[in-house]
Symmetry: C2
Subunit: 451 residues, 2 copies
């Protein structure tokens, strides 16, 4: 496959055709471009050009393009369309994608758009989906699925399935329900094809089926589907009625978004931020985290100046502050990253004491090696007095141990309190380790050298 | 769905049954436990117990359990099995999973195990897959797929498909090939069912199909499948012959592993590391990164002591070193994290100058706010002389600008050189920013205050 390559020439050609209002050539050019690639092209166009293109292309394609666009760009394009045009664009979409788009509209517009959807069943399904929080199973699911009643025969079932399958892009499983729509089990296509057409469904279906509740978090749904290698999972309401289905492609997005969020959080960036966002949006996402570091730095300055007086000959100790700080920060981030990931994939849960003890041992090993190296370099390289070098060495082991314990304890503690432990990595942990590290360093130095 | 919960009681019960050699009760207990959960149970057992359980359970279940286990544990269990036993366990597996397991065995054992696989086709397919690097499409693909010849009729095709589907767990697409096995297109199940049984395949198939080459990297395959929402993608060799198929569940694992690796790298942890790994393995993954920080810290110490002499009244400047360092580190990590993610999902490629200019503006805004705050706190809070406070403020803006530029430039540079830019985040960028930051700080101070 020659992957699609977004070139400046292509964008120029498209802009040129839009300028000349050459609809025919434009449609011809866009014909073979996948909707995900069209979304990338639209990213590069200005708002008027993008709106022109969206209006020009057939709604079967643009509906998919809209689902692929970044929220910011999509919102601006939708503002340029009438409620009727939006309703036409999303007519072709599955209920989950349609609901995602409508949920971003202002309240009054939302109702207007829905009123223009002529398929009443579709509109009703979308309204139902709008009720759910987007980070839950209800917010992820689509109403499109194939279900059969346990009392039907295989023959009924095949006819009914054909009709339902019309609206379902990919059939992963056929779900079996009772007269009250309660989920009972599932049916494999293979079993259905090999069973006698007269058999009752109740005699051939599989009574074991994985499912999630509408209120389950998106993260937990992703964990279950990835762990059990599921390509689709049915969703039930409080009374166990089958209300929707989540497919693996939506979960791939959840996993990627989650990973991106955790990564950003570890780097001190909050929210869904991309390189191309505005300076204002980027500042909002970055400045608060930098301020944590600023206040930490000011506290550290306070600690240092309080020790500085009367330090006299030992002023050389100040030169090693960056070393102490870098080491404390790095160790803290390492320890917390391991715990945060372990908590995320459920491979450690809550066994605080064991984890702390292991980090303590690890800190002894790592701290010992680093302290020895620092002692050698500062004594032989810098010609620092032996006692001072030894002091720095001892301080560094202590700082590493404390940093490792803080880095391990904070995420586990946050997790127990129901706060996302990913918050703990990054600036938060480095700042607290900076402060504790410097305090421990000077306290030990004062104790040993007695200034 | 009541999620499976791994309790101490369950583990104790299983250990008790193993001790008493109560096979009947054990099989009964394990009957309804999903293979992914059995893998979690085995994680908690000792090696003898784990081996006992693997040998006891039927190979249909244990084969899947083996694919879910961590490599370390799996290797030790496999060492306890004979080549014949291993061959029996993996008989039920798809070729890709079987190849993954066999590839971990020592060379001589590998051949022995393969010689015990009685299905020669299966053995041949596995041997073929063993040739590919595990991080390529060839290493990810399975040989199980459904393919039909363009010259067949729909009727031929349905019969042939039934036979092939026997070996394929989930049919995602039917691929169409010519007499030389070259991939021509695909066939939808819907089209096949609605077409007349006498039509030739060549008249009904879709000539457009996404595919990847065996040598494509796993990351690129993941990117393509996620972008185009594909549930399966065919794999072709150099001559365009259809040689395998990759399914989305394997890609979910690739995406998760990749995200974990990037996250760890940003935190200064190399390799595939988990919380439960040994102290030695954890030290190997963590110590090298800490040493980068140590050497950086020693260099910073050198810079500070060289400025320290003759600093006289301005010794208070040393107190603000942690502030400079924390700010430089945080800004550097933020800038690099945004670039690294942008490069990973292809939303920025190579437009260095634009990125650098944007980061420069952002650094001016963020740096300005922070510098103003620092000036206020250091002057009014610490009672630092106005000129010194202003110096610190000016230095901090400069440091932020330089840190942002280094953080942006290094990942883009590495990417251009073909090195994974994720290496650049974490300790590497914080350390270089520490050194540059401190150098800039004291240089500016010396220039303004003239010591």
């Amino acid at each position: 496959m020659t992957p699609f390559k977004l070139t400046d020439e292509l964008i120029e050609e498209i802009e040129h055709l839009i300028d000349n209002n050459d609809k025919h050539a434009l449609l011809d050019l866009m014909k073979d471009i996948h909707y995900a690639d069209v979304a990338e092209i639209i990213d590069e166009l200005n708002l008027d050009e993008a709106t022109y293109l969206i209006k020009l292309l057939e709604s079967k394609k643009t509906s998919d393009v809209l689902t692929e666009l970044d929220e910011g760009i999509r919102d601006r394009i939708l503002e340029n369309l009438t409620a009727k045009e939006i309703a036409d664009e999303i007519r072709e979409l599955d209920t989950d994608d349609a609901a995602d788009i409508i949920s971003e509209l202002p309240d009054e517009r939302r109702e207007e758009v829905i009123s223009y959807i002529d398929d009443h069943e579709h509109a009703k399904d979308i309204v139902e989906l709008l009720r759910y929080d987007e980070d839950t199973a209800g917010g992820l699911m689509a109403k499109e699925l194939v279900k059969v009643n346990e009392n039907w025969t295989v023959l009924n079932c095949i006819g009914e399935m054909r009709a339902q399958a019309e609206n379902v892009t990919r059939v992963h499983s056929i779900y079996v329900v009772d007269d009250n729509e309660k989920l009972l089990g599932r049916l494999s296509l293979k079993d259905l094809l090999t069973a006698s057409t007269k058999s009752a469904i109740k005699d051939v279906y599989i009574r074991k089926v994985d499912y999630v509740s509408v209120h389950e978090t998106a993260e937990e749904v992703a964990r279950i589907m990835a762990k059990y290698d599921l390509e689709a999972i049915p969703v039930v309401d409080e009374t166990n009625r089958l209300v929707g289905r989540i497919t693996i492609d939506d979960i791939v997005d959840v996993i990627r978004d989650e990973a991106e969020r955790d990564y950003n959080m570890a780097a001190g960036i909050s929210g869904d931020i991309e390189a191309k966002d505005s300076i204002l949006k980027l500042t909002k996402a970055r400045l608060p985290w930098l301020l944590i570091g600023t206040f930490g730095g000011m506290m550290a300055a306070g600690i240092i100046s309080s020790f500085q007086e009367g330090m006299g000959d030992y002023i050389i100790l100040l030169s090693f502050v960056p070393l102490i700080q870098a080491t404390a920060g790095n160790v803290g981030v390492q320890s917390s990253a391991i715990v945060v990931q372990g908590l995320a994939n459920d491979s450690i849960d809550g066994e605080i004491m064991g984890r702390l003890f292991k980090e303590f041992l690890l800190a002894l090993v790592n701290g010992g090696s680093i302290a020895f190296l620092v002692l050698l370099i500062s004594h032989f390289g810098f010609g620092t007095e032996y006692l001072i070098s030894a002091t720095i060495g001892i301080a560094i082991i202590s700082v590493i141990i404390i940093a490792a314990i803080i880095g391990t304890f904070i995420p586990i503690f946050l997790d127990k309190k129901g706060i996302d432990p990913a918050v703990a990595t990054g600036p938060f942990i480095t700042t607290s380790n900076d402060i504790f590290g410097i305090l421990v360093y000077f306290s030990i130095a004062k104790l040993i050298l007695g200034f």
